[in-house]
Subunit: 465 residues, 2 copies
């Protein structure tokens, strides 16, 4: 008779041990389809367990369809249970590649914010208050388009700081801009062609491609993306960073904005997606009006997130949709649950309502401006005799640095790396046929302190002289 070693002292109950043992034999083929199992009484005596143990194990095997019971005949193994053979060894799964440690002391990367600026103790205090005040209300799913309190705060912020006057009802909150772009592609349709800035944010190209949307890279001039080039393409929607182009740093002038708005209004179903990603960080004058403010035809979708202005880990972004798109969203996509936990939404709403957000923006703008100034000053001080030019420094968290000293971009980068400083080439943001300017680097300064910046620039000077 079938014999298994069952351990009465084990944490797993006896019936469970027996169930697992029989199942393993069925799955391995040791017990074949049609094989008869011992009767409950015999099996219990044989294994020295109670009959209820065998009964429970058999019950489970029956429920799962491993065995079947035939009246007056007993229990039999089900046929056709053989599992497919194991697959050939799968390719090994690499862990997410860590940032290579090449011993560099300084890193001018762009996708970083200084979380030191973030008033964590205030945030933690508000979080605790939200837990007490809202209590188990927090367990209820937020409205699909986000908590009303947060949408109202965002509407007020947009009015006060960006001059955009939109009702809270036109705001749609989601788990970061990548999710929101995905939603927007569903809303505007996958069938259309999307124009993207060239050069531009590389990840954007990947996100559109991953969402199955066709993209056209559109070359830029000194004012940004040209409306006539756009009109000559087959695109019916365009993704722009007019406040501060990434990576060129261009601020799109009003005339160009008007041209693009006319392009959008000139045919039905054309849209401009305005990514206002670092509009909070503008140093030389007040922010340029958003396209979303100037739009009279309902053709601008405004996108922003709190990833740069607060912290990347919060994963809160928002879309502002014109009425017609908001109606389409409600009709077709409000089936999607909100992707942001109620708790974070209420905490952020409280942070904005109590002025914490405005104070934080003002404070971090000063910190970043001081870093930008430290960078520009260090360049002016150290780079005497070395040809260089800077652009895109009026806003944002990075500058462009051209160094026409005869080295090409790759040489500049590798020399800098040998000196312990990581810098990034501009050419990586270009898609053919657009051609990058020679020997130009993108320097993000948000992650380095003023003394670090001064020292890094000194090292760059030595590397490139």
């Amino acid at each position: 008779m079938l014999t298994y070693h069952l351990d009465a002292k084990a944490k797993t109950p006896l019936y469970e041990q027996l169930y697992r043992a029989v199942r393993a034999d069925i799955m391995s083929g040791t017990l074949a389809g049609g094989d008869r199992l011992p009767s409950k009484r015999q099996f219990a005596e044989h294994l020295r367990v109670s009959q209820i143990t065998v009964e429970t194990a058999y019950g489970q095997l029956l429920a799962e369809g491993y065995i079947k019971s035939e009246p007056r005949r007993g229990y039999f193994v089900q046929k056709q249970l053989l599992m497919p053979p194991p697959a050939p060894a799968a390719p090994s799964t690499p862990s997410a590649a860590p940032r290579p440690d090449d011993g560099c002391r300084f890193d001018f990367r762009t996708n970083i914010v200084d979380t030191e600026c973030f008033p964590f103790s205030t945030w933690a205090r508000l979080s605790r208050a939200v837990l007490s005040e809202y209590s188990d209300q927090l367990l209820r799913a937020a409205a699909p388009n986000g908590a009303l309190e947060l949408r109202e705060q965002i509407a007020r912020y947009l009015y006060d700081f960006r001059g955009i006057n939109v009702p809270a009802d036109n705001i749609l909150i989601g788990a970061g801009s990548e999710y929101l772009i995905h939603l927007m592609i569903q809303l505007l349709g996958r069938g259309r062609v999307y124009a993207l800035e060239n050069p531009g944010y590389r990840k954007l190209y990947q996100i559109f491609a991953a969402n199955g949307a066709a993209v056209r890279p559109i070359p830029l001039d000194g004012s940004g993306l040209r409306a006539d080039t756009l009109a000559a393409s087959d695109a019916s929607a365009v993704y722009l960073t007019p406040s501060h182009h990434f990576p060129l740093g261009t601020v799109m002038p009003a005339a160009r904005r008007a041209e693009l708005l006319r392009w959008a209004a000139a045919a039905p179903d054309r849209y401009i997606i305005e990514d206002d990603y670092d509009s909070e960080f503008r140093y030389s004058s007040r922010p340029i009006p958003a396209l979303g403010e100037l739009d009279r035809a309902g053709r601008v979708v405004y996108v922003n997130t709190f990833a740069k202005s607060l912290a990347p880990s919060l994963r809160i972004g928002y879309l502002v949709l014109p009425d017609a798109l908001m109606a389409r969203y409600r009709e077709r996509f409000s089936l999607y649950s909100s992707t942001v936990p109620s708790f974070e939404q209420h905490t952020l709403a409280k942070f904005m309502r109590t002025g914490g957000f405005e104070r934080h923006i003002n404070r971090s703008r000063k910190v970043y401006q001081a870093r930008r100034d430290a960078l520009l000053n260090a360049l002016a001080r150290e780079f005497t005799g070395l040809p260089y030019s800077v652009s895109g420094a009026e806003a944002g968290l990075h500058i462009l640095l051209s160094v026409p000293n005869g080295m090409d971009e790759q040489t500049l980068i590798s020399r800098a790396r040998e000196a312990g400083v990581r810098v990034y080439g501009l050419s990586g943001y270009y898609t053919a046929p657009a051609k990058p300017p020679r020997a130009t680097l993108v320097l993000g300064y948000a992650g380095l302190t003023e003394p670090q910046i001064a020292e890094a620039v000194r090292l760059l000077r030595q590397a490139w002289k």
Copy 2:
């Protein structure tokens, strides 16, 4: 000369008032392209403001490209600034439709969990602890596939409760199952055909459609989706709820599972997506082994969320990917940031590590089982003389109730509604050509207490007698 009324007592600075006034005139066409603006000195005298006020306003208009400066000639309005005319009145934006208040006292809806069961005070305590312990670490973005601590806890949970042995590295955390399905479609490809259960969860059809993926509804038999019907279709991936079919409640037997696994292993690039959505709530025996446990060929993608087992507002779900898909994810999609805030991930990890999750599941299983029993008992008690049958009651949070009393589904629903009880028809879950059984209702009992259930069943009896 241009005349504006500027108010020195207003909160808005004078230069800002002037800037706005001039800009408004440019945008409305009152000031046309090429028009010359007054000199700074003249304008300041005329408006009785300081010259620095005009200079600042002009500076802003220059920066934004509304005007241009010509050396020795003065300031001119930029040409081509006319904005497109406003769009015709947009359709009014309806607010998200509230649940109709038809005066019903009881609602047997299915998409609800009882948040009363949730140990909110424990959760709040752990939240506070996470805020203190992790402090500003919480501001850093989580790994794209989720915090390791949470993935380890999920791996342990899957091993202990579902018998699935997977490394934490194969787990991918995201903001709810809808987001994860979207990600999975990107991973498996939009070009293939996806088989869905018919009847099935309606929202799933909409989500696949919104993601641009082709779907085939596959009819079911008493054991669930048939492998031979699947093999005869052009689908290369299938979405299943084998633990407890929604809405039929079928538990897929092991033999059928083996057939489906063989189907997947029989050709390259075939996949089974196993949605284990309410496997925690199984009353009659221990949970059926997941397909993910039986899979030897690396063809099963396992999906689950904490929406039912904890609270819908938490927005935390996960995929378990076979090695080859995990490698594909890392290669192509780890560019996506994690959609779940670090804070929630760490709080949930702590809740699981300290046993809170297991206790909560055990407690809520008992609560729901008592409600299910109350429903079955009330039916047995009240429905004497009324023909009825129940199925799908072994697990989950809903049952199917057939009432062959001569009324059709719609009559049963409207009579119930007149009596103050909202019930839902099964036919809404079917896609043609599959035909629903007659006069069958889906009753979700998670949102009603035992006394409410007893009273609701009494009312149903009167409505249907």
